[in-house]
């Protein structure tokens, strides 16, 4: 087991290294460099005319005149050694200050979404498989089709619309206005929980649809096994039987796709965040791209990917623990 964990950790490190290179290339893609944008941001509207020499001076000061490889190692070295993600230009502070506690909010959204996804999809998937061919199963199939077809951000818009219409409530955002900048307290935490469910449900939407289908399919296969028939013949109560034989195995594909779900959730987060007015990580990423604030964008992309890679790792370990048939180290 230890060897298995170590191997996965090394694999994780290699993947992250390659990802960081890709992220760095993306950060370098926009035309012009930071010196241009920095000079423009600093002096635009002030009437000071900026010469090429000034820009060059800024370039040297920021170390942007170095070749790309050197800058990459500066950047990645800063992250690994000092936890320094560089400068956020639009905010005139360091990236760490900008992102800071938003990482925790993102994790809060992520885990709420994951919990909602599995709490809904696993029992419903089992139910649909057991009642295969019934009206309920048929309805669920249609629902899961819709879950894949209706994009989350449109669902968010529709929910906002109806909330506005029926309850005349503004349900966007993650905090009520009085808690927005308040220090953390129990009341603020409660406020967060009250606001968290909507983005979580919206984000869980397609993951639930997908996992219901997976769960239903594998559960249907498992239900046909002889072990189930044998257990039924022994007189094992139906509820216990379901959980003990088919469900235990049918859950494996769901566990193995945790990383995939996290990926999907993060993929949809920026756009859902824009619609729901969540100023947290997702929308920050969107704004960073629109402003070409590439150090912020790069840091967020890297962090999101790291969380996904880490969840992949967790799912591998969970799977190895759940399913002894998986050969460790193979």
């Amino acid at each position: 087991m230890l060897r298995f964990v170590l191997e996965r950790l090394v694999g994780m490190a290699i993947t992250m290294l390659l990802v960081s290179m890709m992220v760095f290339v993306i950060m370098e893609l926009p035309p012009g460099d930071y010196a241009d944008r920095y000079a423009f941001r600093k002096y635009s509207g002030t009437g000071v005319s900026v010469t090429e020499a000034d820009v060059q001076a800024i370039r040297v000061e920021l170390g942007l005149d170095q070749p790309m490889v050197v800058r990459y190692f500066d950047w990645i070295g800063g992250i690994v050694l000092h936890g320094d993600f560089g400068q956020a230009f639009a905010f005139e502070t360091s990236v760490v200050n900008v992102i800071g506690d938003k990482v925790w909010l993102t994790l809060a959204i992520l885990f709420t979404t994951l919990i909602i996804t599995y709490v809904i999809s696993i029992p419903i998937g089992i139910y649909a498989a057991v009642k295969r061919g019934s009206a309920a199963d048929y309805g669920l199939t249609i629902f899961s089709y819709l879950g894949l077809a209706l994009p989350n951000f449109l669902l968010a818009l529709i929910l906002l619309y109806f909330a506005n219409r029926w309850f005349e409530a503004d349900i966007g955002g993650l905090f009520s206005s009085q808690y927005k900048d308040a220090p953390w307290s129990l009341a603020k935490l409660w406020d967060l929980v009250a606001h968290l469910w909507l983005p979580a449900v919206v984000l869980a939407w397609s993951a639930v649809a997908y996992q219901i289908q997976t769960m239903r399919a594998t559960m249907s296969d498992e239900l046909n096994r002889l072990s189930v028939t044998a257990a039924r013949a022994r007189g094992v109560p139906e509820g216990k039987l379901l959980w003990k034989y088919p469900a235990r195995l049918a859950i494996n594909p769901v566990v193995s796709t945790i990383g995939f779900d996290v990926n999907r959730i993060f993929s949809e987060l920026p756009i859902v965040a824009a619609v729901l007015g969540l100023t947290e990580l997702g929308e920050l990423l969107l704004r960073a791209y629109l402003d070409l604030d590439m150090y912020v964008a790069g840091a967020i992309l890297l962090l999101l990917t790291f969380i996904i890679v880490f969840m992949n790792f967790i799912s591998d370990i969970l799977l190895a623990w759940l399913d002894p048939r998986i050969k460790l180290g193979a």
Partner: protein
């Protein structure tokens, strides 16, 4: 020794035999088509999608007006639904009421008010704007419109600039579907090359390629697309943006298909007929293309169909937040950009109509994919 002639045997038994013979001698594709035809929902979905595609191809003809043509007399106007009856009686030909502009007594803004006394009839193939069908057939005929050339028919209403939502949706259908087609094609070619090399070579090459695939798969895709499209210079023309977008979508859409191709190739690499081809001196590209791929073309097509929705959804999402196609290009996402806030949806809900197109198109592709998967599976008959 038997003297039965064929026409004597022309019984139910013989017909059954003929049917069996036809079945056993049918080609792989005929069989797939037969099985697919039995899948009713998938057939309906294909029809809907075919209709959408036709709409996109003949957008100039189907849309009564151009995507940016403005009707200053009808801003933010609600849909005009052709009717057969009003308080002045009925007619066989559908008509709409004319629109007059009045000043709102409170806000003093000019508002469009339907005039219930006037009737403008809806006709097929009226003369309208000059367009070039398919880019080279000049015509001024459109599918439908009003017989009064000065009045405009907005069956799905207009946006804040007075542009016809129906016409814009028709043109958007062309953009969104074509971006999906091009994106899928690009990613298919990439998947074929990457998956082909990995699966055929195996060993170390395969390991390295697997690592690379893993990297592309693990980064959240929409934020990645956002990063790439944010890098497009602001001064680029709409055509440049359009082709770059298809390239971006295609460039990162290959991993799933590449993995499928790789694992299929790996599993049949040791088959005798592949070895035989190799010993006969065939080049790798011929062995892959001619001997190995045909054994799972069906599955590849299924995967291609299933990857369409992801392209369409990604394009819609990116354009929706302003990081994809840019106006004056119209795509479903660009159109939905105007319907971004709750206030807009409350006041002008018809701007949300393009969302239905997204949902229907994605649903159709998914259903067709499911139908094809069942049809392409040679063992589904046995069950």
């Amino acid at each position: 020794m038997s003297d039965v002639t064929p026409d004597k045997l022309n019984t139910a038994d013989e017909r059954e035999r003929q049917k069996r013979l036809k079945y056993y001698s049918a080609s792989q594709w005929t069989l797939i088509w037969w099985r697919f035809r039995r899948h009713r929902t998938a057939m309906i979905a294909s029809a809907i999608l075919g209709l959408m595609a036709l709409m996109g191809v003949f957008a100039e003809f189907v849309a009564p007006y151009g995507p940016t043509t403005r009707d200053a007399r009808y801003l933010d106007g609600p849909p005009q639904i052709p009717m057969f009856c009003d308080q002045n009686g009925c007619s066989w030909q559908p008509f709409v009421h004319g629109v007059t502009t009045q000043r709102d007594p409170v806000t003093l803004r000019s508002v469009s008010v339907p005039d219930p006394e006037s009737r403008i009839y809806v006709v097929l193939f009226p003369a309208g704007e000059d367009v070039e069908l398919l880019g080279f057939i000049p015509t001024n005929r459109h599918l439908f419109g009003l017989d009064d050339p000065d009045a405009k028919l907005h069956i799905w209403g207009t946006d804040s600039l007075g542009r016809d939502v129906f016409s814009r949706t028709v043109y958007a259908t062309r953009t969104s579907l074509s971006i999906g087609v091009l994106g899928v094609l690009i990613s298919f070619v990439l998947a074929l090359m990457i998956g082909g090399v990995a699966g055929y070579a195996g060993g170390m090459t395969d390991n390295v390629i697997q690592r690379g695939t893993e990297v592309v798969r693990v980064v959240p895709i929409i934020p990645l697309y956002m990063g790439l499209s944010a890098a497009m210079p602001k001064e680029w023309s709409t055509t440049q943006v359009y082709f770059t977008m298809t390239l971006i979508l295609g460039l990162f859409g290959w991993p799933t298909l590449a993995r499928r191709i790789r694992s299929q190739l790996l599993s049949i690499r040791g088959e005798d007929y592949v070895v035989a081809a190799r010993l006969a001196g065939a080049r790798p590209s011929r062995i892959i293309g001619h001997h190995m791929l045909p054994s799972f073309t069906g599955f590849i097509i299924v995967d291609l169909v299933i990857s369409f929705p992801y392209m369409i959804l990604a394009e819609t999402a990116l354009s929706f937040v302003g990081l994809g196609l840019r106006p004056p290009t119209v795509s479903w996402g660009v159109l939905l950009q105007e319907a971004q806030s709750v206030r807009v949806i409350e006041q002008t809900p018809w701007l949300f109509i393009p969302a239905a197109f997204v949902v229907v198109a994605v649903l159709a592709f998914t259903v067709i994919g499911d139908g094809l998967r069942d049809a392409a599976d040679p063992y589904s008959e046995a069950r």
